[in-house]
Symmetry: C2
Subunit: 542 residues, 2 copies
Amino acid sequence: MGWLPDESGLEKTAANYVPLTPLSFLVRAAQVFPEQTALVYGETRRTYAEHRARISRLASALRDKGIKSGDVVATILPNVPPQAEAHFGVPAMGGVLNTINTRLDVDTVAYIFDHAGAKMVLVDSQFLELAEEAADRMEGTAPIFIECSDDQAGRKASGRHMTYEELMESGDPEAAWDWPEDEWESISINYTSGTTGRPKGVVYHHRGAYLNAMGQVISWRMVLNPVYLTIVPLFHCNGWCHTWMMPLVGGTLVCCRDIQAKPIFDAIADEGVTHFGGAPIVLNTLINAKDGDKREFDHIVEVFTAGAPPPPSTLKRIEPMGFNVTHVYGLTETYGPATECTWKPMWDGLEGDERAAVKARQGVAMPFIENNTVMDPETMSEVAHDGETQGEIMYRGNGVMKGYYKDPEKTAESFEGGYYHTGDLAVLEKDGYIRIADRAKDIIISGGENISSVEVEGVIAGHEAVSLCAVVAKPDEKWGEVPCAFVELKDGCEATEEELIAFARKTLAGFKTPKKVVFKELPKTSTGKIQKFELRQEAKTL
Amino acid sequence: MGWLPDESGLEKTAANYVPLTPLSFLVRAAQVFPEQTALVYGETRRTYAEHRARISRLASALRDKGIKSGDVVATILPNVPPQAEAHFGVPAMGGVLNTINTRLDVDTVAYIFDHAGAKMVLVDSQFLELAEEAADRMEGTAPIFIECSDDQAGRKASGRHMTYEELMESGDPEAAWDWPEDEWESISINYTSGTTGRPKGVVYHHRGAYLNAMGQVISWRMVLNPVYLTIVPLFHCNGWCHTWMMPLVGGTLVCCRDIQAKPIFDAIADEGVTHFGGAPIVLNTLINAKDGDKREFDHIVEVFTAGAPPPPSTLKRIEPMGFNVTHVYGLTETYGPATECTWKPMWDGLEGDERAAVKARQGVAMPFIENNTVMDPETMSEVAHDGETQGEIMYRGNGVMKGYYKDPEKTAESFEGGYYHTGDLAVLEKDGYIRIADRAKDIIISGGENISSVEVEGVIAGHEAVSLCAVVAKPDEKWGEVPCAFVELKDGCEATEEELIAFARKTLAGFKTPKKVVFKELPKTSTGKIQKFELRQEAKTL
């Protein structure tokens, strides 16, 4: 250990030690780039000086409404300015941000409200009924509602709650912020669907958010003053930490409420968007856009894509359109992308399928990850670099979550042996790049959203006619994958595909509802375990 | 404070907490970029895989020679591979690196050997006699000598000591490294001349080195795989932390032993150098190079310049040659550059003197600095943004030193009020950019080297004929500034300019020796204090 024989007077002081937090990025941006555009949403356009003042308003208004340090503030918002502001305003008063997926069903939202114990929720008028119904179904005390209306999108305030702009009006644009005293303090909770039905609350800390944002600048080959378009929902891993990253590089955050081809092309052409992240489905949306929706632009747009490897056909068509696509991989537990298929100069000559094969791999650790490899979970030793031996993708480093909220047991289990276990099976190729072989966890990824097949199975099994049910991924050209249910009916019972789909939809969010139901006897092992592998093979042929 | 009501299971673990250290950058580079060129020196060329193996050799060989965690290992080396390797190899076995300025005089080197308590010194054959004489003059135990010969430069081993390559040969290329358990552990000591004669040992920690390197990537608009030329001596603030930075971005470090126009142009043209740092004198060297030494190249070289603001005449001539110059400012106490005259798009149209005036300012905080401003040291409040009100440049943040070695008193003094006090007087311009008005500390900067005028005065005052002496900076076209001595002789005594210069040179390093001596009665205040301000004015007219 590098302690000098005499370390007297060399302790931490206020001058030389500041807990790492992304809040620092915004304060610096307001000093260095006060006149630079921080945020754009349609006709709304704010400089960094204005942005910082609004964050002070939000932080002080939250305090005035009784929110205290360590309290959870939830949001149910699309990618609109209040969502971007909450990423700074909530931690700036010591609060912990819980961005909830707007696509979830009432029951799950109610569960999250209860589990996280949110004291307040900022909710878009579009999702107000969802939030209100969820509050009604809660076991605990309902949060205060602040309604974010959106005139530009034709979403008028209901009149039933205080509005976000009324809240902001009550705040002080000069209010001081609360700063973390310890960089390990919590900054946000992101609920993720795991293998079990109930989502787990992944807790992030200030240190991780800071280091992840700084490291991704390097991974993304980003220089000063980028223009970033919010396609990845900010409720997914806090928008992959990109909202926190922008002030670090004096960048402009362009909010995009509806993820459609026209507004995306418009933002690229009119605002000069240089970077965005999104699932491969977004790339297909751009490729298949109507001619009237497409726009000309003369710069290269850097794209991080994740959720599934970008298919060769997509890469071949999107890259000549002016997009440079980099495949990244990560999980809610790693603050979003933490592995990157880092491009090497020696591959510059590759074309077509060869190029696509290189690009479709998951890749290597980003700078804030200490070690990211494929290991045998029994021996915790790295598998051979042979492209064949399977192991589990593991992470160790400062970009790994703090843990699961109120679940020390699952946290300890996921960190066994000093590494975060992703549950994803992969191989290491000869050059050390990770390539996923199979997902060990029973997850279906549809349009970039994770779906727990166990959750879907639980709902369908609740139908009176169903004896046994297994849900697997069925490949889908548009969504990547969609849930497909294999069902054994009870003796003497009957049910149609339409009936079961409608039944599931009553409880499940639309994206989780099976798109296909197959009635048959399920294949089982000798011990009675359903052989999902066979069903996955079958689903591919449907 | 952002602690959730229930933080059980959310503590630091091996999976999610790793002390920040630049050692991580090299391990990751060897995994991600093993085939990439890490280091070039003439005919020597090593990949990251080879570079990492040599670091393991060095770390294990140091251990075998009895060096222990917390021991200081010194170097007296130009910018050659052993110096770059020591930056990783010494901390990789828990040692603390002390790079000593090769231009110092024997007495000062002896003082540093004693003060830092170096157990070993890696010394270039060119500076071996200096080191040996210094060891002879030490009060304490002399360090083990390891001689770095350099055949390429015609510097043969003396045969009197173990050579560096013999040491490396004894090491294990697969040896494990020692990792810091606490990111606050010391990584290096850099001696700086202050206002008093004896240099102070500025201690850096692993955390600061990591954050500084990461933040400078952003400041320098650096993307993956840069080619960095070592012009700034690695013994100045560890080469402004750039050696540590290179593996983070998979960059190539090109070693440059002699800072002359021809090797610099050759490196730019042949190795494709993209970045270097250096004092304005280096830029003048390039401008004034002989035609035969100049080379054509077709890319832009990014230059960080510091030590003095780049003069307008220099900027006007160097920029059309293919160099983009950014003025940076910092001190040994801030790990080198920590303030940057960050360029803004709105200045793109500026030309000539207007452009130079904007570029010559010190600028704004780099990302790893929390706050960098100009304050009234009495009230510790920021001065007005009026370009007129003077105050002292202050820093607070993770890029501020740990403190002065074995000097808790000076450390506490320099951190008074929670900020590091630079001693430099400046104003804040309307846009918040810092511009230095005057240097409060009695420092002369000659060719990028700091000279304490008090030290020079002390030596001259030792001459038997001298009654009183004051040393100030005299502007110099080549060196920026040179020391100029004003001397009052004792009644009835005589001495010539040549005599005093020769007398000073016996003790002082060449760059510290006055280039001009003026005999006159020194101007004094009513209390007898020498009015240096007047002498500085006079020196400008000489």
